[in-house]
């Protein structure tokens, strides 16, 4: 059993008057992949975005409850959101490389955080990040071409490389494969499997097969509530809750 990395207690999220999450309590273990599944609009992405305070960007969004990362409370005005986010990388549904070269995309994080001193160090980080994201071989001859010139799957791996370049502890992935074809998806899934040796990963996915393939633990959300959580194998073979059973067997959702 691994250590708990992120712990949430009674997290409520309101968009204006509408409540999107109801008292979600979930522990996320270190160096494991935790999958969040559930029908559209059930609040799994909202929950994911609470962990790196991305919901701050939405004016009408109010988060209360308690979330700790490494036993430190993050739902508080005193928290330095910028340094929190540098510890928690995020990969989005649609690949969103910056309008810069491939090299500059990956170098972006290390540069703004002042992680590197010399140009050689920066190159070192960019190369190793691209390598860990399994992209180096494909792009090493064209590092100075725009990131947007890559294919969708490559762009998504570039975004992963960009996220791991700042050496985060946690990587949040919001349906990272939903815009990709099956082959690119398989590549990303392999990558996730490899990355979990070093990072804590939380992945929101619509594909139950994907959750089953890549995750060790799974949480099932329904209508803003965390219905059931447990080891992936158990959730998919012997769920306790009736709704979970219904969803994974495809009876609703």
């Amino acid at each position: 059993m691994n250590n708990v990395k992120v712990s949430t207690k009674n997290v409520n999220v309101h968009y204006g008057t509408k409540q999107a999450l109801h008292r979600v309590t979930l522990d996320i273990n270190e160096k494991e992949v935790t999958a969040l599944i559930g029908p559209s609009g059930c609040g799994k992405s909202t929950f994911l975005r609470c962990i790196n305070r991305m919901n701050d960007l939405i004016d009408i969004c109010k988060v209360d409850g308690s979330i700790t990362v490494d036993n430190e409370e993050i739902i508080s005005d005193e928290v330095d959101v910028v340094s929190l986010r540098s510890k928690i990388g995020m990969v989005f549904q649609k690949p969103n490389p910056f309008p810069k070269s491939i090299f500059d995309n990956v170098a972006y994080g290390p540069t703004i955080h002042g992680i590197v001193e010399t140009k050689t160090d920066l190159e070192e980080i960019v190369h190793s990040s691209l390598k860990r994201a399994g992209l180096l071989k494909e792009v090493k001859d064209r590092l100075h071409e725009p990131g947007t010139s890559l294919s969708g799957g490559q762009q998504q791996r570039l975004c992963i490389a960009r996220a791991i370049a700042v050496n985060p502890d946690i990587i949040l992935m919001d349906e990272p494969c939903s815009a990709l074809d099956p082959i690119a998806t398989a590549t990303i899934e392999e990558l996730i499997d490899e990355l979990k040796n070093k990072y804590t990963i939380v992945i929101v996915t619509h594909s139950m097969q994907q959750a089953a393939r890549v995750s060790q633990r799974t949480g099932f959300f329904h209508l803003g509530e965390l219905v059931e959580t447990g080891e992936t194998q158990k959730i998919f073979t012997n769920p306790e809750n009736e709704k979970t059973q219904g969803y994974i067997t495809g009876r609703f959702g």
């Binding site: 991305m54 986010r85 995020m90 309008p99």
Partner: protein, 457 residues
């Protein structure tokens, strides 16, 4: 006379429409065949064929009628015998006499006869005008009604006509531009037959006065336009130095930092600023800013004139702010939210995100906004007339009087001027240069925008 013809045309196309519709409906009922298109399209088809010939005749008549009548009337006068007769003076005299009896008193008999002749031709002409419009409309409808068969795909034809019509509309702007270029070009050529191109482009003295009589004391006219271009450039630089940073920072504030409430207030206010007439800016510059600039210059130990390039440039910069801020604001807003989230998700703060991600992504649009501002600055007249003076000084000192291309064009064209005076014609040469500069600027802007598009999209 032309109002009535418009009414005739309107009634004509209306009845053509009704005719077409009833005709095709009864036709298809008789033959018991369903029409290939809805009856409306057949009616529209007939209508087009009724309207087009009528319009051609209408505009042809307007353009050529006067000339033809004049030629017919003047054919009676023998200009070789009497070289003192001036054709254009003569015809206006004849017209005046024909219009009103009060002009007829004391005129030569041949003029009176010609006036009568003119009036009768005019009468015949207007009758035949109505008749020919009616006839071509009927001919058009008759020609088109051969196609009123249920099997005829009227909708496709209408679709084609719509296409031609739209093409025509889009070519209006292009053709107008071409026309402007040519008129500028020809008038400029006349100017350059008096003044050498070299003197105009590289001469440093602008003194556009030609002596009225031989041996007149005072200097010879001199058409070196460099001081004017320099003045334009100087004021443009001052204006853009004000407008670009303020406009861009306003846009960044509005797009990224302002709360929706603040934004709702500031944005319309800025747009009001864009609607203020430039002459109002002009007297603001003259009354408020220019004295301030003078005092400021004196405090620096510079002898500033009461109107100066700096005063005009500063106010012009204020005038351009809304253009830059409003356009840049739109561009920044259209940068996808996913890029912001991507950057913030890595732990970049807001300023870093804006500086390193948003602005580069928005750059093509911002460059576009900047160049639009530049062309506004170059084309602006009123502020400069009022606040920068009209003296063509060749100087880089913004505290001095300068003048711009547009101001000199205004000066050249107002007042009693003959059109073959180089002073008047210089307006066209200046206009041509202005046109070429803005054209180059636009091409340049488009290339920049395209280059970034290719790289980033």
């Amino acid at each position: 006379m032309f109002y009535w013809s418009l009414i005739i045309i309107l009634l004509g196309i209306y009845s053509a429409y009704i005719f077409g519709k009833s005709r095709i409906t009864s036709h298809s009922r008789q033959l018991e065949i369903k029409t290939a298109s809805l009856p409306t399209y057949y009616a529209q088809y007939i209508m087009v064929w009724c309207l087009l010939p009528a319009l051609i005749v209408y505009f042809g008549w307007i353009i050529f009628e006067d000339q033809i009548i004049q030629n017919l009337v003047l054919a009676n006068f023998d200009f070789d015998l009497n070289p003192a007769l001036n054709a254009s003076l003569l015809i206006s005299e004849i017209k005046n006499v024909a219009l009103s009896d009060s002009f007829a008193e004391g005129k030569a008999t041949e003029i009176l006869n010609a006036a009568e002749h003119y009036a009768s031709i005019k009468y015949v002409s207007s009758i035949s005008f109505y008749l020919s419009i009616l006839i071509v409309m009927i001919l058009g409808v008759m020609f088109a009604s051969r196609k009123l068969q249920p099997s005829f795909p009227a909708q496709q034809s209408i679709e084609n006509y719509v296409k031609y019509f739209l093409f025509f509309c889009s070519s209006v702007a292009v053709l107008t531009t071409v026309g402007i270029v040519f008129s500028l070009l020809f008038e400029s050529l006349r100017f350059f037959s008096d003044v050498s191109v070299f003197e105009f482009l590289f001469g440093t003295k602008w003194y556009p006065y030609i002596p009225i009589r031989e041996g007149q004391s005072g200097s010879q006219g001199s058409f070196g336009a460099v001081p004017i271009f320099a003045g334009t450039f100087l004021i443009m630089i001052v204006a853009m130095c004000v407008a670009t940073p303020i406009g861009l920072f306003t846009a960044i504030y509005l797009a990224e930092y302002a709360s929706p409430r603040v934004r709702r207030i500031i944005k319309p206010l800025l747009e009001i600023l864009a609607g203020v007439p430039t002459i109002v800016y002009g007297f603001f510059a003259f009354v408020t800013v220019a004295p301030f600039v003078k005092t400021f210059g004196q405090s620096l130990g510079i002898d500033a004139s009461p109107t100066s390039a700096l005063a005009a440039g500063l106010v012009m910069g204020i005038m351009i702010i809304p253009f830059i801020s409003s356009l840049s604001d739109d561009v920044i807003n259209s940068v996808p939210q996913s890029l912001r989230e991507g950057s913030l998700g890595i732990g970049a703060n807001k300023a870093e995100t804006i500086k390193r991600v948003i602005l580069p992504a928005a750059l093509p649009g911002i460059v576009g906004a900047f160049l639009l501002g530049v062309s506004r600055a170059i084309g602006e007249t009123m502020i400069v007339v009022v606040a920068a003076g009209t003296a063509p000084n060749l100087t880089a000192n913004p505290f001095e009087n300068v003048t711009t291309v547009t101001v000199q064009i205004v000066i050249a064209l107002i007042g009693d001027q003959e059109f073959d005076d180089p002073r008047t014609l210089s307006a066209f040469a200046l206009g041509l240069v202005l046109f070429v500069i803005t054209l180059i600027l636009n091409i340049f802007a488009l290339r920049i925008v395209k280059k970034y598009r290719e790289r980033y999209e």
